[in-house]
């Protein structure tokens, strides 16, 4: 039987999605359901003087209106930060309370203060307009760079500072800088982004008064984790009385990791009114209240010798948390950022210092890449600048500082098990025709255009787990993953996974893996996920962990099935279990022609008896049935890496940047389904290029979101991109049995510095901030013209 792993198996989920048969949360309608509308703060910072619902209550169709008071009275818990970070001085981070409905203060535009529940959506909207809230408007803090000098947003949190964190050794870095021939320094801004999943958030909450169970259908990347948080911290219901279902979910990119206010409020309220409640975000609510991403202000320095050896690295960053610290809010700018900021290089001394600040803006949390795009942007912009200042070719300078042997003990935290960065660089250069660039630049010049080339070499730590490691760094839960593999008596297989697919194609790739492990046709394998009532507890999908952690749990559970199968076969065929081999779905007694198919073995496990015979096919000690579970906790993160090369052409008269060529050469370890990986890479690149050239979430000084719709927030479109040139090198991960590394975030991590390095190269080294909009680039072109004129 040919192996399915590695082949372009068509997606099992596409039939459903392409024929309109997907079932998203908004598609779910329950009998007698009501509709919720949230009353939200129009101010970025205010105290609530009075909230009057009398008029609204009289509005037609209103079932109930609940406010921060009721939720506090019922002792429903607030939203939490899932990762405890300690400051350099040893103090614990400072987090404000974040009640699901604000009672006394609101801290960003969109912060909910009340929920209106009515018989119809129109009636709920109508009534919500009649809720009167008397606010005392306070001066908002919105700037990341100045947040520490602003008014104190949360009582008791001085300078709006959540923590002042250090990773690395300042003294060693000082010594390294003292020895340097040259110090390259850079000031950069990592622009704030809005995730913009295609499906806006939604939830439908139901209460069964007889069983006292709450069922919450919600747009989540990790239903089990949501249930745990809502139960343990939200006090909504004990875990066994709360079922969380995340059906088809239309994209997350990190924005659907968090438990949100609406999930808690609707679940709690459904029990209170004893009816189902439906809430679906409008796009403008998504803009305002989905977690945002990035938003760093960084000063970084690289100490180098004159022949280009890196000696030391400093990174001073202010990270904006927004109004509250949420689930991955505090780990994203620390452990997901700091360790990767030294990039793919051997740098003997380094530190990263992060001051995380609160502002009156939407909470900032993990968004595709989470911390690693910011890290990669920092080091790769710095290295590119070093290559300009040292006059060393950008690819040579990188190669000079690559590690030569693996495992590679990276400066700050990670030990990278495998990779071949030089091979990746060489292949990328070939794919991109790096040598031919100068000729292309001249051609552009002849047309009056400026052409630039940019390079990025990156690595990232993904497959987020090992539990011992993450918990030692402050994570509130272990980050293993579970799988359960169940055979039916007639031989088909159901695989339950604790991870969740919202575009990652689990139904296909996980079935490929199980099909290979078990020798069962892929049509006979179903992948089930997304329901806390089905399968075991799981941690969900983020940090490119589904395959590298969840996939391995499936492999391990399958291996247990095979082990049992061998024992059963041996009993059935009167052989020694050690003499039974398993191949392509058959258990074969070696050096004989005796064998059983896995289907026959499954059947025997479920019907372990024979008429008129007191004989069971099950060996002593083995129970009937064929079902195995695995909780897999890997020994390390996995470390994809690669080199990307971009070429842009700029029209100096309009400032328009045209991305002419984009080459991505990645090492994702073993590839399960190349088509799915291409999809992941394309999507990541679109988001990364979006960050570099188009996307920007902008607040004004009063805290109003200026880019609150697609009229002003530039989502990239297909015609913004060239044909992507994608290739791979492959070194298998040594830390998991499949040798896989994870591919979900690479594009979003590598593309921003790659594109910006190209833009800045075209602009003769002038810095521009992301996104490189036409006007910024036009201004830089004018400066360039002036300085060229002066030089001439």
């Amino acid at each position: 039987m040919a192996s399915l792993v590695g082949s372009r198996v068509e997606r099992k989920e596409d039939k459903r999605f392409l024929t309109g048969k997907g079932r998203y949360t908004a598609d779910i309608n329950l009998a007698n359901q009501t509709y919720a509308i949230f009353v939200r703060s129009p101010h970025a910072r205010a105290s609530i003087k009075k909230l009057n619902i009398d008029k609204a209550l009289k509005s037609s169709g209103v079932v109930s209106i609940l406010t921060g008071k009721e939720i506090a009275d019922d002792k429903i818990g607030g939203l939490i930060a899932g990762w405890a970070i300690r400051s350099e001085d040893g103090t614990e981070m400072k987090c404000p309370g974040n009640p699901p409905l604000a009672k006394d203060n609101v801290n960003f535009v969109g912060d909910p203060v009340a929920v209106v529940i009515a018989e119809s959506l129109a009636e709920a909207k109508e009534a919500a307009e009649k809720v009167e809230v008397d606010y005392k408007v306070l001066k908002a803090v919105t700037s990341t760079a100045d947040a520490m000098n602003g008014d104190t947003i949360h009582e008791g949190i001085d300078k709006n500072l959540c923590f002042d964190w250090l990773l690395g050794d300042r003294q060693k870095v000082k010594e390294a800088f003292d020895k340097a021939d040259k110090v390259i320094s850079i000031d950069i801004i990592n622009n704030r982004l809005i995730p913009n999943a295609m499906e806006p958030r939604a939830c439908v909450a139901d209460y069964n008064a007889a069983s006292e169970e709450i069922t919450l259908y919600t747009t989540s990347q990790n239903p089990h984790l949501s249930r745990l948080i809502m139960s343990a911290f939200g006090n909504v219901a004990p875990e066994h009385k709360l079922r969380v279902v995340a059906p088809d979910v239309g994209g997350g990119f990190g924005s659907k990791i968090n438990v949100y206010n609406e999930d808690i409020v609707c679940s709690w309220a459904a029990k209170k009114i004893n009816r189902a409640i439906k809430w679906v975000a409008e796009r403008s609510e998504s803009f305002l209240t989905d977690i945002h991403g990035r938003d760093h202000v960084t000063h970084a320095e690289l100490a180098v010798t004159k022949d280009g050896k890196f000696l030391g690295f400093k990174n001073e960053t202010i990270a904006n948390l927004g109004a509250y610290a949420r689930v991955f809010g505090t780990v994203t700018p620390t452990y997901l950022f700091g360790p990767c900021a030294t990039g793919v290089y051997e740098i003997p001394a380094a530190y990263t210092n992060v001051k995380a600040v609160y502002t009156n803006t939407a909470p900032v949390d993990a968004y595709r890449g989470a911390g690693r795009p910011e890290a990669t942007y920092t080091i790769e912009r710095l290295v590119e600048k070093a290559s300009m200042e040292l006059g060393i070719d950008k690819t040579e300078l990188r190669i000079k500082n690559f590690p030569t042997a693996f495992p590679f003990k990276q400066t700050l935290v990670h030990t990278v098990d495998s990779g071949d960065y030089v091979a990746g660089m060489e292949k990328a250069k070939q794919m991109a025709d790096y040598k031919g660039f100068e000729a292309r630049r001249k051609e552009s010049e002849a047309k009056g255009k400026l052409r630039g080339i940019g390079v990025t070499s990156y690595f990232e730590a993904c497959g987020i787990a090992p539990s011992a490691a993450v918990m030692s760094l402050g994570c509130g839960v272990g980050l293993w993953e579970s799988a359960e593999v169940r055979f039916n008596p007639t031989g088909q297989v159901t695989v339950y996974t604790g991870s969740h697919s919202h575009g990652q194609s689990h139904q296909t790739t996980f079935a490929q893996i199980a099909a290979d492990e078990l020798g069962v046709p892929i049509e006979n394998i179903d992948i089930v996920h997304g329901d806390t009532d089905k399968g075991t507890f799981g941690m969900g999908t983020y940090g490119s962990r589904s395959l590298a952690v969840g996939g391995i749990a499936i492999v391990n559970a399958c291996k247990k099935i095979v082990e049992k199968g061998k024992r059963v076969t041996a009993k059935m065929l009167e052989a020694n279990p050690e003499d039974v081999e398993f191949k392509d779905g058959e258990f074969i007694v070696s050096k004989s022609n005796k064998k059983k198919t896995i289907g026959e073995v499954a059947f025997a496990c479920y019907l372990p008896g024979v008429r008129d015979e007191m004989k069971s096919p099950l060996p002593e000690g083995d129970e009937p049935g064929l079902k195995e579970t695995s909780f897999y906790d890997p020994s390390n993160f996995s470390f994809p890496a690669g080199t990307h090369i971009a070429e842009v052409e700029i029209d100096p008269e309009t400032g328009h940047v045209k991305l002419e060529k984009y080459t991505a050469c990645d090492d994702f370890g073993r590839i399960i389904n190349p088509m799915v990986v291409e999809g992941q890479v394309h999507g990541g690149l679109a988001q990364g290029i979006g960050q570099a050239l188009y996307e920007n979430a902008e607040y004004d000084e009063t805290g109003q979101l200026m880019t609150g719709s697609y009229m002003d927030y530039t989502m990239p479109r297909a015609d913004n991109f060239p044909e992507f040139n994608i290739g791979y090198t492959c070194t298998h991960a040594t830390t998991n049995p499949l040798g896989v590394k994870g591919c979900g975030e690479a594009g979003a991590i590598a593309a921003p510095p790659t594109v910006m390095n190209a833009v800045i190269d075209a602009l003769g080294g002038q810095e521009v901030t992301m996104p490189a909009t036409a006007e910024k680039v036009w201004k830089a072109c004018k400066n360039l013209k002036k300085s060229n004129a002066k030089a001439a």
Partner: protein, 261 residues
């Protein structure tokens, strides 16, 4: 969205009779519906004019192209007749918004709305258009009054827009990267007697740039407007472009348009 009454008019007369101070005509709905959904506009009555046959269609004569007010952008961009007579007009229509918008939005709705960054108003000015309403004919130069303001009276319905076929023309838009409306759009049309340089997006309302028109009427070459330093004091500034950048774009796009003619 607040409740409203929906009417489908069978002819211009009925449509105009149904109109009041709290009504809107419903053509493509691409402006009206989103503004109602966002609560920026409320109407008691929406008067659908798409079923009025007379309002749709394209007619070409020797001198002009006449487009019915309820003709959709996609129909203009796909029309072989328009492509032949005034290719720049068909490509302007092709560059409006996205396919969904082009499949519903209409030329009449666009010019009645007179968004300062809409594309069609520049075509009207550049191509010396005449706006035919159910009451009168209005010259384009007198039709666009100011930001979202036109010469239309209450209940007055645009029936068709008649464009003069130029010798040469080109529309060059620098789109807002998010919405793809014009940050600046310049429509250059060379007629027998003179040259129009209609500019949209730059100021509160579309206008004909006299300085460039004059220069190009004398010598129809991009070199004759190269280096013109336009006064930016009346130009728009927003998060996507400053007045200074817009002023520069107007000249750049005008040069591109001349070169493309």
């Amino acid at each position: 969205m607040k409740d409203f009454n929906y009417h489908s008019a069978k002819d211009s007369k009925e449509a105009s009779k149904l109109a009041s101070s709290s009504s809107a005509f419903l053509a493509g709905g691409m402006t009206t519906i989103p503004s109602m959904k966002l609560g920026l506009a409320t109407y008691k009555d929406l008067i659908d004019i798409k079923n009025i046959k007379k309002l749709s269609g394209i007619k070409v004569s020797g001198k002009s192209v006449t487009i019915g007010a309820a003709t959709k952008h996609v129909e203009v961009s796909n029309s072989k007749d328009v492509k032949k007579a005034i290719p720049s007009l068909s490509s302007l229509a092709e560059g409006i918004g996205d396919p969904q918008v082009r499949n519903r939005g209409t030329i009449g709705g666009s010019i009645a709305n007179n968004d300062p960054s809409a594309d069609y108003p520049s075509a009207c000015i550049a191509l010396n258009a005449t706006i035919h309403t159910n009451e009168r004919k209005i010259e384009a130069a007198k039709f666009f009054k100011g930001m979202f303001e036109t010469a239309l009276k209450k209940g007055e319905l645009i029936e068709a827009i008649e464009f003069q076929i130029p010798e040469k023309s080109s529309y060059q838009k620098h789109p807002n990267p998010a919405s793809r409306y014009a940050i600046v759009g310049v429509y250059v049309a060379k007629h027998k007697a003179d040259v129009n340089v209609a500019v949209t997006g730059a100021k509160s309302c579309v206008y004909n740039d006299k300085e460039m028109s004059k220069a190009l009427s004398g010598n129809f070459s991009s070199s004759s407007i190269d280096g013109i330093d336009l006064d930016s004091s009346e130009m728009n500034t927003d998060m996507h472009a400053s007045a200074e950048f817009r002023a520069s774009l107007v000249v750049t796009q005008a040069k591109k348009a001349v070169d493309a003619c």
